[in-house]
C-alpha cells in the first residue's frame, strides 16, 4: 500500500467542504430563484451606499491597524529585551485574553461603555454608538494579534548585531531605526495582515458597540445573509463577498511584495 492513500479521505473532504462551498459564492451571485441573471450583481455593484461602507471599513481597519502597531510595538520590544524566562511568563499574560471568548469580552465592553463608564464620569446617556467606542474595542480585540508576531520577530534578532551597531558608534535611537526596525519588518507585515482584513470583516464589534450606527462591511454581508425574516438575499451577499475576496487578494499581494522587498534587502546587507 502506497502511503499517499492516507491523503485520499482528506482530498475528498477538501473537495466537498472547501472547494465546492467556495463555488457557491459565484453561483449565488448570478442566480436568483433558480434562473441565471446579472441584474442583482449589477445593482449591488452600482450601489454607491455599498462602496461607501467599504471605504468607511477600510479607513476604520486602517486606523485600528495603525493604533495596534503603535501600542503593540513597544510592548513587544520591551518583552523581547527582558530575561527569557520573565518575558515568557509576561507574554503568556498578554495572550491569555485571546483564548477567552471574544464575543463575551465584547459584551463586557458593551456593558462598561453603556452603563458603567458614563455613570463613573457622571455623564448623561451612553458611550456606545460612537465611532471612538467602536475603534477602541476593535483595537482591544486585535492588539494581541499584533503583539504576537512582533514579539516573535524581535525576540529572534541577534543581540550581537545591536552590540555591533553600538560599538560602531550609533546611539540608541540610531541603532533602533537602522538595525532593529528594519529587521523587524517581517513581524510588522504579518502583524498588519493579522489585523487589517479581520478588522474589515469584524461585524460583532459594530453590532454590539456601534448600536448599528457604525456598520462596517462585515455587517453588510451579515445583514444580507441573516435577516430576521429567514433567508436573506444571497445574490447581494455573494456579490459583496466577491468584492471582499478581491480586497483580501490585493492586500495579500501588497503584503507579499513588502515581505519580498525585505528579504532581498536582507541579502544585500
Amino acid at each position: 500500500m502506497k502511503r499517499r492513500v492516507f491523503a485520499y479521505p482528506y482530498i475528498v473532504w477538501m473537495i466537498l467542504f472547501i472547494a465546492v462551498p467556495m463555488l457557491f459564492i459565484f453561483y449565488y451571485a448570478v442566480n436568483v430563484g433558480g434562473t441565471f441573471t446579472l441584474t442583482k450583481l449589477w445593482s449591488t455593484l452600482s450601489d454607491p451606499a455599498k462602496w461607501k461602507v467599504l471605504w468607511i471599513s477600510v479607513v476604520m481597519a486602517f486606523k485600528t491597524t495603525v493604533i495596534c502597531l503603535l501600542l503593540g510595538y513597544p510592548i513587544a520590544y520591551i518583552l523581547s529585551n527582558m530575561k527569557r524566562t520573565v518575558a515568557g511568563f509576561i507574554s503568556v499574560l498578554f495572550f491569555v485574553p485571546m483564548w477567552m471568548n471574544f464575543v463575551l469580552r465584547t459584551y463586557a465592553w458593551q456593558a462598561i461603555l453603556e452603563y458603567f463608564l458614563p455613570g463613573l464620569l457622571g455623564m448623561e446617556g451612553t458611550l456606545t454608538g460612537t465611532e471612538g467606542a467602536v475603534l477602541m474595542v476593535l483595537v482591544y480585540n486585535f492588539l494581541p494579534f499584533m503583539i504576537m508576531p512582533l514579539y516573535n520577530t524581535l525576540a529572534k534578532i541577534d543581540k550581537s548585531l545591536i552590540e555591533a551597531s553600538r560599538d560602531l558608534g550609533a546611539n540608541g535611537v540610531k541603532t533602533f531605526f537602522r538595525v532593529i526596525l528594519p529587521l523587524s519588518v517581517p513581524g510588522i507585515v504579518s502583524g498588519i495582515t493579522m489585523v487589517f482584513i479581520p478588522a474589515i470583516t469584524a461585524f460583532t464589534v459594530p453590532a454590539l458597540i456601534g448600536n448599528g450606527k457604525y456598520n462596517l462591511y462585515g455587517n453588510e454581508i451579515e445583514l444580507a445573509f441573516k435577516t430576521l425574516s429567514g433567508q436573506g438575499d444571497y445574490a447581494v451577499g455573494s456579490t459583496l463577498s466577491i468584492i471582499l475576496l478581491l480586497c483580501v487578494f490585493v492586500s495579500t499581494l501588497i503584503m507579499n511584495h513588502f515581505d519580498k522587498d525585505q528579504k532581498q534587502g536582507g541579502q544585500m546587507w
Partner: protein, 293 residues
C-alpha cells in the same frame, strides 16, 4: 537616574496595557457576584449597577440555555478536534509521500480556509447547507441538522491547522524510518503506528490543541451555519443583542480553568527551558575543563 526612570516607565506601560486587556474580564467577574433580580425576574441587561452580593448567578448558570450551549460547545470541540486530527494526520503523511507538484497544489488549496476571512468561510458553508437541505426536501428526505452542520464546518476549518502542524515534524523525521520498519517485517499499517506516528507525535499533539482551540473559539462560522441550536459564542451574541443580557458568571467559569491550564503548561515549559539552560552551562563548563587538561 534617566535609565531608572525609563525602566520604571517600561513596567508602568506594560502594566497599563495588561490592565486594558483584562478590564472586561475583571468587570464581568466582579459583576458575576451582583444581585440582578428585579422583583421575581432576573435581568442581566443593566450590568452596571451594584445591588448587593450574591452567588445566585452561579447556581442558575447551567440551568438555562447557557448550560446547553456550553455543553454543545464542548461536545463539538471534542468530536471535531479528534476527527480533524485523525483526518489531518493521515492527510499530512499521505501528502508528504506525494510528488512535489501534486503536494504543492493540495497544500495551496488547504491554505484557503486559513487565508479566507471567517466571514467568507461561514457564508460558504451556509450556502452549501441551504442548497443541500433544499435538495433533500425536494427528495423527501430529512434535512441536515444543526449539530451535523456545526461538526462538518468545525472539522473542515480545523484540518488545515493539523496538517500544517504535522508537516514540519514529518520533514524533520527520516523517510527511512517507514522503510526500515517494513524491512524489519512490519506491515504498512504497523510501520505507520509503530515507527512514523510516535516520531511525529509532538506535531500531532500541537495540531490537536490548535484544532480544539479553533473550535472552542469560533463564533463567525458557527453563527452562519446554525439555525436553532448553537454553540456558546452564538448564544452570547444573540443574548447580548436581546433585552435579557448574558449571565456574567459565564466569564468566571471560562476564565479560571483557562488561566490555570495555560499557566500550568507554560510554567512547565519554562521550567524545562531553565533546566536545559543549566545543563547546557554544565556541558560548557565540562568542555572548558577538558580543554585545560
Amino acid at each position: 537616574m534617566v535609565k531608572k526612570a525609563a525602566r520604571s516607565f517600561k513596567y508602568v506601560y506594560l502594566a497599563l496595557m495588561l490592565f486594558f486587556l483584562y478590564i472586561p474580564i475583571l468587570y464581568l467577574i466582579v459583576f458575576s457576584f451582583n444581585d440582578f433580580s428585579t422583583g421575581r425576574h432576573i435581568s442581566y441587561a443593566n450590568i452596571g449597577q451594584w445591588k448587593g452580593f450574591t452567588l445566585k448567578n452561579y447556581s442558575t448558570l447551567f440551568s438555562g440555555d447557557a448550560g446547553k450551549a456550553l455543553l454543545l460547545t464542548l461536545e463539538i470541540g471534542a468530536v471535531s478536534s479528534v476527527v480533524a486530527t485523525v483526518i489531518g494526520t493521515a492527510a499530512a503523511i499521505g501528502i508528504y509521500a506525494m510528488k512535489k507538484r501534486t503536494r504543492n497544489v493540495i497544500l495551496n488549496i488547504s491554505q484557503l480556509p486559513m487565508v479566507n476571512p471567517d466571514l467568507v468561510t461561514g457564508i460558504t458553508f451556509m450556502m452549501l447547507f441551504t442548497f443541500v437541505n433544499s435538495l433533500l426536501v425536494h427528495l423527501g428526505m430529512k434535512q441536515v441538522g444543526d449539530v451535523t452542520k456545526l461538526l462538518i464546518a468545525h472539522i473542515s476549518f480545523s484540518i488545515p491547522y493539523v496538517i500544517f502542524s504535522v508537516m514540519p515534524r514529518l520533514r524533520q523525521s527520516s523517510d527511512l524510518l517507514y522503510e526500515a520498519a517494513m524491512d524489519l517485517g512490519c506491515s504498512p499499517m504497523k510501520a505507520l503506528f509503530k515507527a512514523v506516528i510516535p516520531d511525529i507525535m509532538p506535531g500531532i499533539t500541537s495540531g490537536f490543541v490548535m484544532a480544539l482551540t479553533m473550535s472552542l473559539d469560533d463564533f463567525v462560522v458557527s453563527y452562519f451555519v446554525s439555525d436553532l441550536k448553537s454553540v456558546l459564542s452564538v448564544y452570547i451574541y444573540s443574548s447580548a443583542r436581546g433585552a435579557k443580557g448574558v449571565n456574567p458568571a459565564l466569564a468566571t467559569v471560562i476564565f479560571i480553568p483557562l488561566v490555570v491550564l495555560l499557566l500550568a503548561v507554560n510554567l512547565r515549559r519554562l521550567a524545562k527551558e531553565r533546566e536545559y539552560e543549566i545543563q547546557n552551562k554544565k556541558v560548557k563548563l565540562k568542555d572548558k575543563g577538558g580543554n585545560i587538561q
